[in-house]
Symmetry: C2
Subunit: 362 residues, 2 copies
């Protein structure tokens, strides 16, 4: 097991990365008060991993209140959040009762937001069970639910007490979900670590075969980069925005097709290719840079052609992005492979992009 | 106009107290970006004060998006909160769009929570229009909505950018609401300022007659005490709990009778008398201390006899309190008039209290 430390102005917390971590009560107990936790998962993950974790906790004398939510991005809503509040209140959970999120990014984001709001702030622990959640959503304290008019529109910056990333949990992860997680892994390379892009090109097959050593290295590299960026800018007022590479486009794809049609990671993957292409159109990247991105995404099993939403709809959907300021949409673009920055894009480039070669032809 | 300054580790903000403040654009403009605000009020307050404030803003070139919510504690719910989110998203408000709360504590708490959650945190300004909101809820950053199983159970600590307390707005406040606000004013005397208790005994008539000088003094003294306590303990981990004097009992009354039957301030008033009586029963206060509290509450036009909820129900309702820790209910008690502390109460004292002289007889 390797432990990273994420240090912020008001708090710090460990990110444990390894195998067989659900057995280790000592990773959890320092963050639990009054021997009681709410263990929150969903109908797909709970049958796989809730029992062993529960056993670890109960053996350590901790009462476990399981809360099983419906599975899916469609349920990342206030109604589902309320199921958590109902259970917490019915079981008289106090404001120092720890909530444990056992699941992918949807569970992690919802449990984090529930913890942020329950009695104005309860402690919580992230146990991410998808690659995407291990490398991205469980770290950094962004929590949210969706609104019909926009994804992740309602939420909080609220940090967990610990993150426990166990590679063994990925054994059961469907290949498509693994690929979606790889999109966020690739993102770290593209936005800030050119060397890691090379490593990924060499190890993408091992990763897709769930080689635990390769996975742990990818998770560790990703989390270390995320921790570094978040520690510089917890509330996304500057450098943290770079983590949204591919996301402004990706969110438009998700919203345009209806949440859940494409996976978040798939949309981000296609979105990163659009960001690369836009970066080429404005003169930053070469054609071979763009092809390298496209190729890596393909090796990762990700879509590279975005749906044809129509220029108007693209712009409309992106105008709801949280990075919009003064009406201007701000994009994460690439200066080179391994170096990102934030800037607006000219209308004409956007038009070219949304009618161009990486958009589906009718 | 007098301006207090509330300084916290991460932020500081002004509390302006005076008259004719809705005309003063310069109190608002420093906290508004991109010349656009959402001005949120309710069906009772908007017809009285929304137009003049809107005019002040529009004259200064600020676009105003009015959001009018239904009036009342019954509507302090997620459904109402969602009306705010709907309007913000429909009007493409960004995460730096300022929300202005124009109303009593219900509007202030909801707008504050909406601001805390909108795109993970938008700026907001409190313009409290009830005495209670001016002396208490608008200051200190506690925001929340209710859950069927408990009041203010879902919320956030989230500070406004400014508080503007205009005595003129109290002209239209019903007498019963004014009295409810006086309960929180009296609270500050009881918990930490014996001299202020004497001042209140002398000026309670002037306050009830809406003498603006007396009101401004009461608001200023109250806000200064609250600001002092909050600056020591923003997240209520210590001394801030003292501000809950009368509230553990009061919340039980509100929940026991159904939210909205008694006003919050009325319940707190009766709750403070129970806290005083409990403090006498354990030997802290004298009979004449308790009578002095009772008399001041009566002069303020507040109820002093609590409903007979039955001992079991009292305990059950109080067990949901946010100050419960390790299953133990913690009460704010008086060491003397003007000095409070937090402690549990023996079962036998609680029994005596809830069957005693300040409980309604069948
Ligand atoms: N907070 C952040 O910083 C952040 C960052 C990126 C993404 N996100 C959010 O994360 C969400 C996407 O997360 P996700 O990709 O993990 O989706 P997800 O949580 O929906 O999980 C994907 C699917 O895999 C299942 N699953 C999870 N773990 C499994 C396992 N070990 N074995 C078998 N099946 C398993 C889930 O039940 C689900 O059906 C989106 O809502 C996105 O907005 C948040
Ligand atoms: N956040 C905190 O720290 C804190 C502290 C104390 C109370 N609170 C909350 O505050 C709420 C109670 O606040 P409240 O007592 O202001 O109630 P309120 O907001 O319901 O206002 C009382 C009534 O007076 C009306 N009103 C408001 N201003 C008026 C005016 N100027 N003229 C005429 N009518 C007016 C309102 O529309 C309402 O009908 C409760 O929900 C309580 O939980 C919060
Ligand atoms: Zn993402
Ligand atoms: Zn109160």
């Amino acid at each position: 097991m390797i432990t990273l430390d994420l240090a912020l102005p008001d708090t710090r917390y460990p990110i444990h990365i390894g195998q067989q971590l659900l057995d280790k009560a000592d990773l959890l107990l320092p963050h639990i008060r009054h021997r009681k936790v709410a263990l929150i998962s969903n109908t797909s993950v709970a049958p796989l991993y809730l029992a062993p974790l529960r056993q670890t906790l109960e053996r350590a004398g901790v009462e476990v209140i399981p809360v099983i939510l419906p599975d899916g991005e469609d349920f990342k809503t206030w109604e589902t959040l309320n199921l958590i509040f109902d259970a917490l209140l019915q079981h008289r959970c106090e404001r120092n009762t720890t909530l444990i999120a056992l699941g992918g990014g949807v569970i992690g984001d919802m449990v984090g937001f529930a913890a942020a709001c329950y009695q104005r702030g309860a402690p919580f622990i992230q146990i991410p069970t998808t690659l995407l959640a291990q490398v991205d959503s469980s770290v950094g304290g962004k929590t949210a639910i969706n609104h019909p008019l926009g994804k992740n529109m309602i939420g909080a910056f609220y940090q967990p007490r610990a993150v426990i990333a166990d590679m063994d949990l990925l054994d059961t992860l469907p290949a498509r979900e693994l690929s979606a997680g790889l999109a966020e892994v690739i993102k770290y390379g593209l936005l800030g670590n050119a060397e890691f892009i090379g490593w990924l090109e060499q190890h993408i097959a091992a990763l897709r075969n769930k080689d635990k050593t390769a996975l742990a290295h990818a998770v560790q590299t990703s989390c270390a980069m995320k921790a570094d960026i978040v520690s510089q800018d917890e509330k996304e007022q500057g450098v943290r925005a770079l983590l949204n590479l591919g996301h402004t486009f990706g969110h438009a794809i998700e919203a345009g097709l209806g949440f859940g049609t494409w996976l978040h990671g798939e949309a981000v993957g296609a979105g990163m290719l659009l960001a690369a292409e836009a970066s080429r159109l404005i003169g930053n990247l070469t054609e071979s840079d763009v092809q390298r991105v496209r190729h890596l995404l393909e090796l990762a099993g990700l879509p590279t052609i975005s749906p044809d939403l129509g220029v108007e709809t693209w712009l409309e959907l992106m105008s709801h992005d949280k990075k919009v300021s003064g009406g201007e949409i701000r994009f994460v673009l690439l200066q080179s492979l391994g170096q990102a920055y934030v800037a607006p894009l000219p209308q004409q480039i956007l038009h070219e992009l949304f009618t161009g070669r990486f958009i589906e032809k009718a």
